[in-house]
């Protein structure tokens, strides 16, 4: 599908975006938060259960903490999707064998 060069190039861009997310991102509220503030229902918002409280790992500070959170996020997404795809393909193979 990808040449090795293209794969590494895309991966590099993803890792850079992920690591420097806090540096690159605007800290302004997004569309929904802005609407909730303007219309006065932002206070309904409750913290939910999650492993980390934001895109910030409890390691290092500033750029390191947010950068590692970004890398963890893209790593988890990549691993989860490739694993799931492999499971789906194995099921397909098993199904074909049965027929």
């Amino acid at each position: 599908m990808f040449t090795k060069k293209v794969f590494l190039w895309i991966l590099g861009v993803i890792l850079l975006l992920a690591f420097f997310n806090s540096f690159l991102a605007s800290s302004h509220p997004d569309g929904l938060e802005r609407v909730a503030e303007d219309l006065g229902f932002i206070d309904y918002s409750k913290d939910s259960f999650s492993i980390f409280s934001d895109y910030q790992l409890p390691i290092g500070d500033g750029l390191v903490a947010t950068g590692l959170a970004g890398l963890l996020g893209v790593g988890l997404t990549y691993m989860f999707l490739t694993l799931l795809a492999k499971v789906i393909i194995n099921q397909k193979v098993v199904k074909q064998d049965e027929n």
Binding site: A36, F41, D47, S50, A85
Partner: protein
């Protein structure tokens, strides 16, 4: 556009969870019949890219930001069924690990961004391609409009929950997401054009009509 816990009432949370569960089951079944092994790295990279892009809020107007949702991008690259799974995976990881979007409202967030945005984009893209004759224009408009529709559905959920009146929240959500949609449209066109250049004829939906409509 990740809804936090507390914005939606119980019936809306349960209703959207049920709708989402049905859509996911259907998508996985569809995928089992037509997912090619060679697409695995593409699926992983696509998910990783959209996860990274979703963290990067871009300023859209004074004091407000927006980021790529990515459902239409994913739909064009791997097809609507796989796209639903990709965006769902991202939303689940964001909620469980990073408190981006709540847990009780996760069904609603998946519904809005992984089901509505993806399938609104899919329907629009197919229709637009017949009308506009330009793949880039079709991609831009599908991404733009699907984002606005997704925001409209979120507004409906807020109104049904009794959080805020529909006549207030619907125009406000749609207004801001016209701007967010512009970002969605531009980024989707750029990424799809790049992918069509480096892996020609491998994108699921740009092959929908072979020939004069390829993005170059």
């Amino acid at each position: 556009m990740h809804i936090p816990d507390g914005f939606l009432d119980l019936k809306t949370c349960i209703g959207t969870y049920l709708g989402t569960a049905g859509a996911l089951k259907f998508s996985l079944d569809k995928l089992k019949n037509n997912f090619a092994e060679e697409k695995i790295p593409l699926l992983g990279l696509l998910g990783a890219f959209i996860f990274a892009a979703q963290m990067i809020n871009l300023p859209i107007a004074a004091g407000t930001s927006g980021h790529l949702l990515g459902g239409v991008l994913a739909m064009l690259v791997v097809g609507p069924w796989a796209a639903t799974i990709v965006i769902t995976a991202i939303l689940v990881i964001q909620a469980i690990f990073f408190m981006d979007g709540g847990i009780t409202v996760l069904g609603a967030n998946i519904f809005n961004m992984a089901v509505v945005q993806v399938f609104a984009g899919y329907g629009l893209y197919i229709v637009l391609q017949r009308i506009t004759k330009s793949a880039k224009m079709s991609v831009f408009l599908a991404a733009f409009l699907a984002t606005v529709i997704s925001a409209g559905v979120a507004a409906l959920e807020l109104a049904i929950s009794g959080t805020i009146a529909l006549d207030l929240v619907l125009p406000a959500m749609i207004g801001w997401h016209l701007l967010v949609g512009l970002i969605e449209g531009v980024i989707t066109v750029l990424i799809v054009s790049y992918l069509e250049r480096v892996i020609p004829n491998r994108l699921e939906l740009l092959n929908y009509r072979v020939g004069d409509c390829g993005v170059h």
